[in-house]
Amino acid sequence: MSTTWGGGRIEDETFVSAEGEHGPYGIYPPTEDMLNEPVDPEVSKAQEDRLRRAWAAPKGWKVISAVNNEFVGKWYCLTAFSFMLCAGILALLMRVQLAVPENEFLSADRFNQFFTMHGSAMMFLFAVPMFEALSILLLPEILRARDMPFPRLSAYGYWCFLIGGIFVMSSVLFDAAPSSGWFMYPPLSTIEEGVGPDIWLLGLSFIEVASIAAAVELIVGVVKCRPPGMRVNLMPLYAWYVLVVGVMILFAFPPLIAGDFLFEMQRSFDWPFFDPERGGDPLLWQHLFWIFGHPEVYIVFLPSIALAAMIIPTAAQRPIVGYNWIVLSAVGVGFLSFGLWVHHMFTTGLPMLSLGFFSAASEAVVIPTGVQLFAFVATLMVGRVKMILPMLWIAGAMAVFTAGGLTGVMIALAPFDWQVHDTYFIVAHLHYTLFGGMIFPIIGGVYYYYPFFTKKMMSERLGRWSFWLIFTGFNLTFLPMHWTGLAGMPRRVYSYPGGIGWDLPNMISTVGAFVTAAGVAVFAWDLLRPKSHQPRAPRNPWKAGTLEWADDPNDEQWGVRSVPFITTRYPLWQQPKILERIDAGRYYLPDAQEGLRETIITSAVDARPQSVTAVTGPAWCTIFAAIFTGGAFIFPTFSWYLPAIISGAFAIACVIYWLWTSTAQVPAAPSKDVSLGLRLPVYVSGNKAPGWWGVFISMLGDATAFASLIFGVFFYWTSSPDFPPEGSAHADPIWIAGAAVLYALAWLFVRTARGVNRAGAVTTGRALLVAAPLAALGAGAALCWSLIALDPTSHAYPAMMWAVAVWTCVHTAAGVIMMCYCLAGTIFGKLTPRYDADLWNTTLFWHFHGTSAIIACAVIGWLPRVLA
């Protein structure tokens, strides 16, 4: 069954390794005999010492410089959970205000701040970050990788999230919070006085950037960091969901970032994107917001349901039924969720046909969602269900979510939505889907995974108390809200008149909210109470079948003693000797000879070993980078632009330092022995390298943001009869043509530099790396100069042209920095003809940026003349 990799054939697959010792070399897959061979305990002990040293966490307060997924993931979870509690307290205060009609407990303005922050915090500071937090914590364990592919990136993301979150959340305490709703519709939000909307825009954009960073990391984690042998058909369902959700974030968040960019330009510099008097259109924001906002709901829902997909097989003590069906439904929901955004805009007076399309797509998404639920029920019916505590929460989730889904079917019908849109019926619906689709499964997940992280069990008794309190309280709060909505009560009102049928249901809802809060308090106490006197939990307390439960019982930091070879979906059930072999160090990468933190990189579909990559260790530069990035986003809130620019420059310096000192280092030896007769290269460039994938995926997201801006141009054209306005000035054709040519040259130079450098012509490569940034800088300058006659504050048309130009130039600046980084690399020996990953990544960036810059030139220079 096994063959050597020296250019032979493995199981009908052609694999040619012509790279000699630069490619994988040796035996794969391992034979049963090799796996049965015992490991010498002496050797194993020495290996363990070396591993322990390489993975040692910083001691004392310095622990905050740790970047391990276990540390960062835990902080991330706890931070997101505390933001949830804050947002929950806001909800309670709002419920007090609404308990009786004409209440004066909260003023109108404060209530408006509270509901704005409740929504914003629950979405941006809890729901999405919680997915990232849990995934950073769980994914490497589920895949039995040593760590995430870019640990410092996750640490950076976490610190960004913490700083941005505290900044946004604390605005409530200073009575300075945004008060135009979590959806920030202009013109209400553009004319709102004070810094509220700026805090919202800049603070949350900052967090969105961190979210995208996490998504990039998670996608690369799933695609490239699986253990050898874990083909796509054997992947744990959690990994499938993470992959789908990561890709969704990549396409959903950038439109909002583009929207935030336009919005902040209007607030800071009076560029009239959403001002109808100067050719702007408030509907553009609604489109951009909901293109983000609806997929976001599924971004929240899918990972939580993924937890259910891990818990249910354990409760049923058998493999999931309809694995393929669940993969289908995850991917299907991922797609369909992008065709639903207008159902938040059914009442905006769009053409009926358009409403029809979105109504239909909103209904179509029921099908994959239903498949998912029925697959769970089927699994339970085939197995023998043990009502373990986590399963109780999942059952509660199903009950609540089904109700939310059924009301979803109703409101997806456009005409029915015309009635209930923006009423309490919707408030009820969305809380049913989010509690059922997120809160219940997450709490179930916490009960399930708690012993895995802390080696202690949570209390069974408190768990049941908390469940029944939350379940009862939740239904008491939100079931009557359907009624309140049908009785005509709109959302987002700080008070209401008595005597028109709203008094009683509101009072019941308020009581229910406090019952729910009591349940959450019980849960929080159970989570945080000291458990030192409790006995250690057994290694696999729920008798689960998936790999995370192969966790080392001795609190080691190394993630996994040796990276196993996987041949089944539930290895702990189906590969009998796997635990002993992992622990003995029988599998791959049992040693850290060089004292480096390493993990195995495998191929995307069949998970064949490709290389070993060193991952980064503890660092302070990530924290500083996050602090300075925070400055660059937070200072503009108060119109302090110079400090913001300085802060931004420091952030870039920190990131360059971090990349230069710890990524793509020239290795001492080109490959290393990873045990079981296999040698793997330790440095790869191009599309086998995780870094390349990181750039590729980030740029997909970036391209989406750019596409959103271009969508904006076309949107203005379709929505207004004179766009561009008659007689308006256009970009100078000569300069814009020059810009396009220079962009093409810069792109060509950098691509050629990669080729000639690989071929060994280092000097020519350097010359090209000098010419390329010069061409790029010239291109950016020419692009801006071509627009000099257009006044961006006069009308949405020149503003939009400038927005595209500014966006492009910012990317050019990044591209130039990357080119200079490579140039410095070739001069100081970090980048050689053989070890050229940075140049590959820079070229990849320019493939995207070159394309988008040339499109930008066409949109600015050529398109308006055609449309006019």
């Binding site: 199981e11 042998g229 993969v327 369909l336 065709g339 179509a364 995307a604």
Partner: protein, 124 residues
């Protein structure tokens, strides 16, 4: 790199082909309607005809994808629908099976999305 579709049966891209066609169909019908209703609302009869044509093309393409996926799944060979083995065949048939199911959902999606054109005669 297999992911880039050098070997079709291995490709993850292949899996998402059918929903991608759904997405393109969705964008085209929505974009067409948005522009048409803004620029020439009177001639919505022609618009419905175009929606019909685009839908027919999309359905034909998805059926093509479904047929290929069905062949790749190779269900009638061993009536296997679990595909949980560690072999190339399992992985290939798994991707075929999931791709086929996605094609089914995409067909439903495309028909649903075209449905409004049957009931709503004007831009309104």
């Amino acid at each position: 790199m297999s992911v880039f579709g050098i070997e079709r049966s291995r490709s993850l891209w292949h899996l998402i082909l059918a929903p991608t066609i759904w997405a393109i169909h969705f964008c085209v019908t929505y974009g067409m309607t948005a522009i048409w209703c803004e620029r020439a609302p009177a001639a919505s009869g022609d618009l419905r005809l175009w929606i019909l044509i685009v839908t027919a093309v999309a359905l034909a393409m998805i059926l093509g994808v479904a047929w290929r996926a069905w062949r790749q799944w190779d269900y009638t060979d061993d009536y296997d629908y679990e595909h949980d083995g560690p072999t190339i065949e399992d992985r290939r048939e798994f991707l075929g099976h999931a791709g086929f199911l996605l094609a089914v959902v995409s067909v439903i999606g495309v028909i649903y999305v075209a449905l409004p054109a049957a009931f709503v005669g004007s831009c309104g």
